[in-house]
């Protein structure tokens, strides 16, 4: 998908640039209708947001002066393809005392980077590994 020149002009996407919006299965927003649902042309996969849309929203956030929110959307875009179990186990691993050493976190970061191209998420996890080490958050809590 081509990135539009001016993100400020395409928000809300659903009204100003609906042609840019497609579901995971490629269903365009205009075809996401009651008839389509009743005919079984819309499935559970179509309820998910896509990485492309999240990156568009990141651009919109940045254009409205919200760089941190944009970074969050960019991290989110990397997580769309991450299956629910892996998503939850990574969250769990980031909680205090779950990982026993920085290595465990760094390995998870590397795995996400490699398998999902989750560069930003990996960086976040690696940053956590450093700080947790210094603050003693690898000790067992229960």
């Amino acid at each position: 998908m081509n990135q539009p020149q001016n993100h400020a002009d395409i928000y809300p996407l659903s009204e100003k640039a609906p042609e840019l919006v497609r579901t995971t299965t490629g269903l365009p927003l205009k075809d996401f209708t009651l008839e389509a649902v009743l005919e079984g042309k819309v499935g559970a996969a179509d309820l998910a947001i896509t990485p492309e849309i999240l990156r568009l929203q990141a651009g919109i956030a940045r254009a409205s002066g919200r760089d941190k929110l944009a970074e969050n959307f960019e991290r989110a875009a990397e997580l769309v393809a991450v299956p629910q179990d892996l998503l939850l186990s990574t969250y769990e691993l980031l909680r205090p005392g779950r990982a026993s050493s920085p290595t465990v976190l760094r390995e998870r970061a590397q795995a996400l980077r490699k398998e999902f191209g989750a560069e930003r998420i990996a960086t976040l996890i690696e940053e956590a590994a450093d700080v947790y080490d210094r603050r003693g958050l690898f000790s067992k809590r229960f």
């Binding site: 996407l13 559970a44 947001i49 956590a128």
Partner: protein, 759 residues
Amino acid sequence: MEENSTGKRRWHRFEEWDARPLRLDSFADENPEDGFAVFHSPYDPSPSLRLAPDGSVLEMDGRLAADFDILDAFIAHHHIDPAVAAEAMAMDSAQVARMLVDINVPRARLEHLARGMTPAKLTDVLGHLNALETTFAYSKMRQRHSPGNQAHVTNAKDDPLQLAADAAIAVALDFDEIETTMRVAGNAWANALACTVGAAAGRGSTLFQCSIEEAEELKIGLAGLATYAETVSVYGTERSFVDGDDTPWSKAFLTAAYASRGIKARCTSGASSELLMGFHEKRSVLYLEARCLCLQRAMGVQGTQNGGIDGAPLTASMPAGVHELLAENLLAVWLGLECASGNDTRISESEIRVGAKITPYLLAGSDLITSGFGSIKAYDNSFNPSLFNSEELEDYLVLQRDFQVDGGLVPIMEDDALQLRRQAVDALSDVLEELGLAQADQAMKESVVHASGSNETETFSPATTLAISSSIAARGLTALDIVRALAKRGHERLAENVLVMLRQRVSGDYLQTSAVIRDGKVVSAVNEPNDYTGPGTGYRMSPEKWNRIKSIRGTINREHVLKAEGRHEAPTGTPTLYGIGRAENGRDPHEVVIGISPAFGERLHQTTAGHAVTDVLDALYSGILSGGGLPRVVRIMHTADTSFLGLTAARLSGSGYGIGIQAKGTAIIHQRDRLPHLNLELFSNAPLVTIEHYRRMGQNAARMTWGEVPEPVIVTNDGQALSARFHTKVALLYAIETEMTVPGAEPVDQYFATPERNA
């Protein structure tokens, strides 16, 4: 109790104060050692910031990078903008505080500066603002143009039918978000499905949250049964954070995880949570919250729910605590965050404190004025009672009308409400049946439609509700199944409303700051930012919105008053009263003239106490007779004022004593030589006056003609706000009287006879 513990006799006033609800509240002494300090603690660090040439933070708020705790580290790395820091930190805090209330300094400029400020610096700035300035700055700095509000929709039985009905009502009241939670965690899926269906009734389309453990919440969101989450809690000290079983990185990851599933997320923080968690580090409440909020901006979450939340009652127990709650909301919006500004927890047993607590927010507006208005009864609120619950909902609606402000809600009419509840309950029971989840019979549905709260319902058993929920989860049902079931059972409109929300998920527009969905369209700080720059700018209610807010239940006007009076039009068999000719001065030394007002028994037939005017007249008449006087009734047309009615009557009277009376029942004894407003006896609170009072007034006037000084008739008032109850009606009634006056018209003698006397 007559005596206190020391055996001393007390001033009874204190005993009365002891009995007021206020005294159930607890109040804490200020004590920074124990964490009880709101704006400043001697243990708060002084603002400081030192950067390396590469922009990394070497020292922040008196702490070296090597000693940073998890919050410092995250804030230093992700919040502090090195491009702004030098300028922002060098500014005088008082000057920044003035900029916050200066309409000539744009919001964007201040948000820019905040990115270069440390938590201690931000705290220092806010300490320069008083409560009014804080409120004003909040109004200028809040993110979305128009205010909004959030509802709690829960019940003590986790009853899906009632959830559907109450969700529909919340939407009709115009809440932008609905949040539910469960008494039994396993009921989450049933709650989510019921609220989704209910919220689609009527105009539909509102953001919805099912508050539960994160993994479950993500799954529910993924199934299209929730659109936002606000359970991303953060704390202001490291040990509280770790005891909360998280770190800034785990929460930043979770925030991204929510967005990756198309769910709008906001953090939860708020004053005194660290005190409740036991790790306050002797810092002030506001400083700890400043750390939380810098962290939230750093994590990239779009917004926060702060302003106390669970810690609100504790914060409100401290001196300036309620002011601090406002200040931390201001800090949230100053950092560019959406703010759901607390006002959820009931901070007091005193209704006065509750009303005062909400007022600054009504005046300033807020993205979500409450982060949970109990749209249901207090006992049904599974989050604990909110500041306002359904019991006080109409009070809130009237406050909006009083101040001409948009508090995010609009009144609903009784018939419409009932119809909506029925629609929601029918739709849900059809969906449950269609999906083979449960069967609701007619009696169950009827009991829920009419019930105010779950104590009154005859509905699903707890086992059935749990079975519904487990089944939804196990079968992997999604919002699409709901859409199909609704459509199949003829609820196309509701199906379409659910679909609107599903389409919104795909475009992700509501993930942006302060986004809500109104009439199927996204409204956020991106497409409708707060643009306040002084009078005439920023959010102003449209005439249509103001008309809706004005339309509270039970207003009265002239037509209503006249119609009510019409009911008391003299039926046959009641006393006769008509004019018989111009009134002359009387001669009998014991004559007492009763001067009736222009509308008395003409267009107005009952007093504000509800007596027929002829009964009142008869009481005065017979009272005069019993006191040895000679009554004469005269209609006075040139005035409707009680004093002048009385004085005119007195001057016509052979004794010089007269009574003036208005149709609304206000009566006076006057004497011919007195100044108009220096009467002898007055019944000013007509709503409290009984027939017997009037009889005794007549008797007293008669005794005065014999030179006696009778004991005045006292109408006791036990402190009711009579003006609030009656003045609207009084003003309308009196306007009818004054309209009938004819300047210069002569008084007219009246023939007055009760049926008994006629006989």
